[in-house]
Amino acid sequence: MSDEPIVQMTGITKDFTGVRALDGVDFTLRPGEIHAIMGENGAGKSTLIKVLTGVHSPDAGRILLDGRPVRFHSPGHAQSGGISTVYQEVNLTDNLSVAENLFAGREPRLGPFINFRAMRRRAQALLSDIGVDLNVAAPLSSYSIATQQLVAIARAVDIEAKVLILDEPTSSLDREEVAVLLRVMRTLADNGCALVFISHFLDQVYEICDRMTVLRNGRLVGEWATAELPENELIGHMLGREIEALEALERRSSAGGAAEAAPLVSAKGLGRKGAIAPFDLDIREGEVVGLAGLLGSGRTETVRLIAGADRHDSGAIEFDGRRLGGHNPRTAAARGIGFCPENRKTEGLVGELTVAENMILAMQASRGWARAIPPARRAELVAEFIAKLDIRPANGDLPVKNLSGGNQQKVLLARWLLIEPRLLILDEPTRGIDVGAKADIQRLVAELSEGGMAVLFVSAELEEVTRLSDRIAVLRDRELIDVLHQESDMTTERIVDTIVTRGGAE
């Protein structure tokens, strides 16, 4: 491992309209190392990468590549300079073969024709170099996302990448696939390539990385060798505050009397063909009901029926003891049901509208277009909820798309809290957001339910579900298989057990 850095970024500053995303950040990358960039969402990790790869041009600072100043103006330009990036979403062509994907745009030729035989041979060799064995003539789509990612990496490496950036490559991979990916990364590093690794998974970072650079709020916190920085200190650096918050939120004891109260919402045989089998579920005021299950088990489908986002084709839903006819998002909101959907960018927020506008959208919708919320009242509400939810930057007039994921989620929450809902439905409210915002949102859920609000809550993280829920509905294969309500049942083991045993009985 040479000590001469391959990439040296100094004093990188980048402003977006009204937001300073990076403020004098330094970053040094040496050949043969795997270097993690750590930070909460909104810390500036992706902006730093985008500056390095030429997606954004920095407002100040310099970048040295191999000791020479460079300024890339496009990712392609950066690639020709030896910096390749593999994103979470694979940028390859599904319906071409593995070999064609590897050599697209630089196919081995035989006169004017493509030499497919040579291409397949070289593809095979290239993949076996990184320890992967595939049928290179098969279409890329016949392989899993993980494998496609490996192909993307192989392609990047073959274009003489001196620097390979992996941006959240493991988010959609299972354990074994992650192991393969990490092994390939180590092989590449041993061959002298410098790797930048961005991941939310701390265990993977500790397993594979040699060094880490920590960012917070667009500023550099520091650079450490992995061995010298224990995990709790790392988290402390990322958050910049004690994270007791998360730990203090010990599992709340379920409200004893709640079970006797009449349910606020009662689903009776509610179902939709192809989405979720008919199910019964009661939600009482002041109660948090968690939905647990694997991806594709029907969690989202269940809450969408209750929220009125999708039409049910069997059963009925009762609210306050009255059967709801013509259940849709508008009537649901009118009755006090707020719904934060799973995908906040495509279904939740209107990106180009401002934070304030996104916040008041549901309230305004219920008043109709003719009765605008008076400007003074609106400013007051927006300021109140920005402060209450600690939304940053605290500026209601920024386009909401400029905010980080955690803050966007808070804006979406504020939209529904503004109408003072009786039932709040949250589908994956903490996915892909930073630890600080996650703690904020979990604390908020606990507070709201203590204040008497009913909360229906979906999360892929079982620990989060067990920590927050009074009762847990367990789903498997688009069927609600059990509702756990005993205090002793509120463990991840018990949920996993339920999924496995009850599923096996089918």
Binding site: G18, A307, A365, A372, A383, G396, D397
Partner: protein, 365 residues
């Protein structure tokens, strides 16, 4: 508290700043056109004088003649904000003109009551057509371009049926022609109407929540639905306004000519309107819309037509020149293009002076 209001103030300035930024390039193009005209024909081009108690002069004429296009472009702006488009406005123009003129053709044209009835009838039908377009789009899920294409094709036929294939005329003595040729307080009536509709639409969209909800529906229809917005009603309303504006534009056009030509009245005006909207900074993808930007776009298009004649180009240049100006505005509005064209002029203070100006070459070594 003072902190919060402080944040609000700076943010407000930021919003106004962003708005001005968006208007800047269209305004620069407009200024350039005006300068060319002033250079060729002198200051008379822009400075109006008063003849027979009415303003006259080249620029006043441009504004007067651009009024129908302005009305249509303003309506189009709202439709485009919903992610839609209305191709039928040219045909609705013709229908509005045909209804009014045909109604007056068989009556006492000098009676103010008859003229008012003709105007009301034409506007009501135009509004109905707009609502029909909106219903097809919002309730039946027909793609906007298809839904409005139907009436773009059929509309002129309907106008011909109304006029019986003739060109109905209105006598110069009728109060109706004042809509196109008259003046109030020296200012031509079409300019008054254009300004009034502009002001009305700004008030309607910005003092109510209509503007924000339109932008929400156009910006993200699914999120808007889940937030409980009645997006169908809002979409229908946008098309209804566009139809009414088109009908009113037809009335001004017919009043100016004193007749209604079902075949040629408002021909291709929908395309000019779309151009004006785009020049004004409203994206065809829907969402944020800018009525003031559209107005600047309309004045650019109106001025351009006169400029071509003033600089001595033959009228055959009309379309080519229009295309060139639209191209320039579109390019200026593209951040990528601006970065590319301005790069040689950018100060390089923040950048270390590279030994080799071409980074690619530097890397190759």
């Amino acid at each position: 508290m003072s902190k919060a209001s402080n944040a609000g103030r700076t943010a407000g300035e930021g919003r106004a700043g962003a708005y001005l930024k968006r208007l800047m390039w269209p305004l620069i193009v407009l200024a350039a056109l005006l300068i060319v005209n002033i250079a060729v024909t002198g200051f008379d081009f822009i400075v109006p004088d008063v003849h027979d108690d009415r303003l006259s002069g080249a620029f006043v004429n441009i504004l007067r003649r651009a009024a129908p296009l302005l009305l249509i472009a303003l309506g189009m702006t709202l439709v485009i904000a919903t992610k839609g488009i209305d191709l039928s406005v040219g045909a609705v123009y013709a229908i509005g003109a045909a209804i009014a003129c045909q109604y007056l053709a068989g009556r006492d044209q000098s009676a103010v009551g008859a003229v008012a009835a003709a105007v009301a009838l034409a506007l009501a039908i135009a509004a109905l057509i707009g609502a029909w377009n909106g219903t097809m789009v919002a309730h039946f899920g027909v793609q906007p371009i298809v839904a409005t294409l139907i009436l773009m094709i059929a509309g002129r036929g309907i106008a011909q049926l109304i006029t019986g294939g003739q060109i109905p005329t209105v006598a110069d003595s009728s109060p109706f022609v004042e809509l196109g040729r008259g003046a109030i307080a020296t200012v031509p009536v079409p300019i008054w109407i254009g300004a009034a509709v502009f002001a009305a639409l700004v008030l309607l969209t910005r003092t109510t929540a209509l503007g924000m909800l339109l932008e929400s529906v156009g910006g993200n229809p699914e999120a808007s639905r889940l937030a409980g917005i009645r997006s169908k009603g809002i979409t229908v309303l946008a098309y209804l306004i566009a139809g009414t504006c088109a009908g009113l534009a037809g009335l001004i056009g017919a009043a100016n000519l004193g007749s209604a030509d079902a075949n040629n009245g408002g021909l291709w005006i929908e395309l000019d309107a779309i151009l004006a909207v785009v020049i004004g900074g409203t994206a065809l993808m829907g969402g944020r819309f800018f009525l003031l930007g559209t107005t600047v776009g309309v004045v650019i298009i109106g001025t351009l037509e006169v400029t071509i004649i003033n600089v001595g180009l033959s009228s055959q240049w009309q379309f080519t020149a229009k295309a060139i100006v639209v191209f320039i505005v579109a390019m200026l509005q593209s951040p990528e293009f601006r970065a590319w064209i301005l790069r040689p002029f950018r100060p390089r203070a923040a950048e270390p002076a590279p030994t080799d100006p071409d980074p690619e070459k530097a890397l190759a070594k």
